[in-house]
């Protein structure tokens, strides 16, 4: 990883998909902030409206050296690189006037304000659209803007619970509650749909000339991100049961994570029905001298394998315990088996594949210095993307943005 000027400017001569778009972001959670970040990465000018005390993310850890400070929040830096920070107090009249004037030239407003907060501020998103017919307002709220639960309060955990996703994840032992998968994924799922809906709205506006109001529900975003759980209900009327680190299914299945000699884990789902992966596995085990009886010809028959699944699983467990996780990962893949190492975040910075693709880029973040950030996971041959950039300090662009507003007739 190296820092170069060119890493912070888009490739010469190529357009970015969102060239010329202005986005105003009023985000109080990672759903809104990640949506805004996608627009930064693809070339839009994103103006982040913050209250005088700073966005909630500035008050959320982890912090640099664990010192709580709005200019040291890694949660804030992660989601807000490259946005312009403008302090506007929506609760006072001047602030509201400034906000309204910013929307006049904006293409998109991202809002995560809860319906109760919108009412408290006297802010009606439909009225905002009516006043700015070309504006696209993307609202992201826990349950959507309408309906019997619209005013309910939520969080990432609560959203996953009510969506139907949480019950599918956890351990085989059901005296342990379902366990929330990490990383604010209800918010992230909502961000993915908010981004998709916003681009559709731009495509629509390019044809019809009019914007509108997009109403994203976090509960629903997670609720349609359950893979098999809904179709099992739609079709055979089955309910899936959570199982440790593998697919929830209506019936119990064999374990799919194996511990290796170095204490680390690999994911490998042994599927007996396919002859080729079975042979690849046995030949691999044989080359390590631990295939035991699995090389016997009777294992060529699926019936025999199924009848002895428990025995096979025991030997495979021992097999993985005898080698290091990275060896198991790369050797298994070299033999054509879909095996995955359970990387920890700290492993990723050294992953030879991600390094070769230049996935992480170093940026210079005031208050810390040089630090790596992931690039946008989109690559185009004929379009540029914006590499990661530092996050602005609170209100860094207030004067610049407001002066530009005042300078207009």
């Amino acid at each position: 990883m190296t820092v170069t000027e060119s890493a912070s400017t888009p490739a010469q001569g190529l357009h970015q998909p969102y060239d010329g778009l202005t986005v105003v972001e009023l985000a109080t959670d990672p759903a809104g902030e990640l949506t805004g970040l996608q627009f930064v990465h693809l070339g839009a000018d994103v103006i982040k409206i913050e209250p005088p005390a700073g966005s909630p993310s500035r008050h959320t850890g982890p912090f640099v050296d664990d010192i709580a400070d709005p200019e040291r929040s890694l949660a804030h830096w992660y989601y807000n690189g490259g946005k312009r920070s403008v302090v506007v107090d929506l609760a006072d009249d001047d602030g509201r006037g400034t906000f309204d004037s910013l929307l006049v030239d904006a293409d998109i407003l991202i809002s995560t304000l809860h319906p109760l907060e919108l009412r408290r501020l006297g802010l009606d998103l439909q009225a905002v659209v009516d006043a700015n017919p070309r504006l696209i307002v993307v609202s992201i709220t826990p349950f959507g803007l309408t309906g019997p639960w619209a005013d309910y309060q939520s969080s990432d955990l609560v959203a996953l619970a009510v969506s139907g996703l949480l019950i599918t994840s956890g351990y085989d032992d059901h005296t342990i509650p379902p366990i929330r998968p990490g990383g604010d994924q209800a918010f992230h799922t909502a961000a993915s749909f908010a981004h998709i809906a916003a681009i559709l709205a731009i495509l629509e506006r390019d044809q019809s000339g009019i914007g509108g109001l997009i109403d994203v529900s976090i509960q629903e975003a997670a609720g349609v991100t359950v893979e098999l759980a809904n179709p099992y209900w739609f079709y055979p009327r089955g309910l899936v049961q959570r199982q440790t680190c593998r697919h929830a299914q209506p019936v119990p299945t064999q374990t799919a994570i194996f511990q290796c000699r170095d204490g680390r884990w690999v994911y490998f789902a042994l599927i007996l029905a396919d002859q080729k992966p079975w042979q690849a596995l046995v030949s691999w085990m044989d080359s390590e001298g631990v295939a035991t009886d699995l090389t016997d010809p009777e294992y060529d028959s699926l019936e025999h394998r199924q009848a002895n699944f428990g025995h096979i699983q025991d030997i495979v467990e021992v097999f993985f315990l005898l080698q290091d996780s990275s060896v198991a990962y790369h050797e298994g893949q070299a033999r054509g088996l879909p095996i995955g190492i359970l990387n920890a975040p700290e492993d990723l910075y050294h992953d030879e594949h991600l390094v070769a693709r230049g996935f992480f880029v170093d940026i210079d973040q005031p208050g810390f210095g040089i630090m790596p950030q992931p690039t946008a996971p989109y690559r185009f041959s004929a379009l540029a993307t914006t590499p990661p950039q530092r996050a602005a300090s609170l209100g860094e662009h207030t004067d610049e943005v407001l002066a530009a507003r005042r300078g207009q007739p």
Binding site: G147, I179, D215, T225, Q259, G340, I341, N343, E346, D347
Partner: protein, 433 residues
């Protein structure tokens, strides 16, 4: 030959929506690709799924059958009816479907003609398959200079692991999402689903939409390379910076934190038992005002006045005890009753719902009409997951359930490519389509 229904409502028609007029030659199969192009089909694109009769798409074979018995998805039937599979219907609504044998020269020639009439070409095969058929990026651009050629894969189309095999759980493992999920001191609990099939599909959908937007604005096509692993890394969130900036490794005894929150400090924050088998409620209390509201609903029992619970820091430091007290209050109560009583005073609480709850009983999901039904000639009426957003100025155009195998051969080869009926019959006879 598949019996093709004569129902006029299944005949391809002009589509509505922001993507009307966009034609997609869609080689995607399995989950990720099919979900990514489904979104285009929902909003008006003419998505033509290309299928191989001799190598059925796995969702056509998965044993999720309406009215069928409930079994694991690995227990396939020996010769499944390709038109009966619920997962295929789920992933391929609103698309057209044709069959084509890409191992035949005539088949590849037809594919090239179709690509010449289309705006997008999509695929999620193992690296090298499209090249084997001659469909290199250069060749495709020769057929249609402004085409968008989207390659969806686990690891991306460059780098030393580009050819590694993956599906959702492998991507989740490699990108770190599995490791960061679980109770401290135990094996990871990870994900009970292919979350990264869904999320990679969403990232691919947005990449396709961006490329369409850019072509409308700047008049040029592009190749698109989205790596599911890289999308997964972006989804890890701020923990990535905690390890890089603070040097705090995540292989430590107190990580991950299960249902407790790393940041911000919050307690109680967990999933608590309720009346019934495997019934739970999630409760998340962030500040003192929410704590006081919770205490009010609990009826202010003596333990709640323990000064150790007066502050966020105190509640976090004593959360084992706090969770025991709260569990003893929730354990004989109905999970929805707990949710409703806590929400009435502004405390964040949610019943842990399953697919039956959200489909049949949840008044919010019902109000928002997230699920909808479409008829299918073999399956009958079936339910679908809609989009988790509404728009005031455009809507999804749900016109048809998934195509039967080869259902749209006569429309695509006849009306789009202009072949005569005899010629189409010959192609079918000789196994080209």
């Amino acid at each position: 030959m598949t019996l093709i229904p004569t129902d006029p409502s299944r005949r391809p028609r002009a589509r509505r929506g922001p993507l009307a007029g966009v034609r997609v030659v869609d080689f995607c199969w399995m989950g990720v690709g099919a979900m990514a192009t489904r979104l285009l089909a929902d909003f008006g694109a003419e998505v033509i799924r290309i299928e191989d009769r001799n190598r059925l798409d796995m969702p056509r074979r998965l044993p999720l059958y309406k009215g069928g018995d409930v079994r694991s998805y690995g227990e396939e039937e020996t010769n499944p009816d390709p038109n009966k599979g619920g997962m295929f219907n789920n992933y391929n609504r609103n698309k057209l479907g044709i069959t084509l044998n890409m191992r035949s020269e005539r088949g590849r020639e037809l594919a090239e003609r179709l690509i010449g009439t289309s705006s997008l070409l999509t695929e999620n095969f193992a690296p090298g398959v499209m090249e084997r058929w001659g469909l290199t990026e250069e060749h495709v651009r020769g057929l249609r200079p402004d085409i968008i050629y989207a390659r969806m894969s686990g690891f991306g189309h460059s780098g030393p692991h580009a050819e590694y095999r993956s599906y959702g759980p492998v991507v989740q493992a490699v990108c770190g999402l599995s490791h960061i999920s679980g109770l401290p001191g135990r094996e990871p609990s990870g994900w009970g689903l292919s979350y990264m099939d869904n999320q990679a599909a969403y990232y691919n959908s947005s990449a396709l939409l961006m490329a369409i937007l850019a072509r409308r604005r700047f008049g040029q096509g592009t190749d698109v390379d989205v790596s599911a692993v890289e999308a997964g890394v972006q989804l890890l969130g701020p923990v990535l910076l905690d390890v890089a900036v603070n040097g705090r490794g995540t292989r430590r005894p107190d990580y991950p934190t299960g249902n407790r929150l790393d940041h911000p400090a919050a307690a109680p924050h967990g999933v608590y038992p309720c009346a019934g088998v495997d019934r739970w409620v999630a409760i998340a209390v962030f500040d003192d005002a929410e704590w006081k509201s919770l205490v009010g609903v609990l009826g202010e029992p003596p333990w709640t006045s323990d000064p150790r619970f007066d502050t966020v820091a105190g509640r976090v430091a004593n959360q084992d005890e706090l969770d025991e007290h709260l569990s003893s209050w929730t354990k004989d109560r109905d999970r929805h009753d707990v949710m409703t009583r806590l929400q009435a005073v502004g405390v964040r609480a949610g019943a842990v719902q399953d697919a039956e709850d959200v489909n049949e009983h949840d008044p919010q999901m019902a109000h928002r009409d997230i699920f909808f039904e479409l008829d299918h000639p073999v399956i009958g009426e079936a339910r679908f997951e809609g989009l988790p957003f509404t728009a005031s100025h455009f809507a999804a155009d749900h016109w048809r359930s998934a195509p039967l195998l080869g259902e749209d051969n006569s429309y695509v080869y006849g009306e789009i490519l202009g072949l005569g009926a005899d010629e189409v019959a010959d192609l079918a006879e000789s196994g080209v389509i």
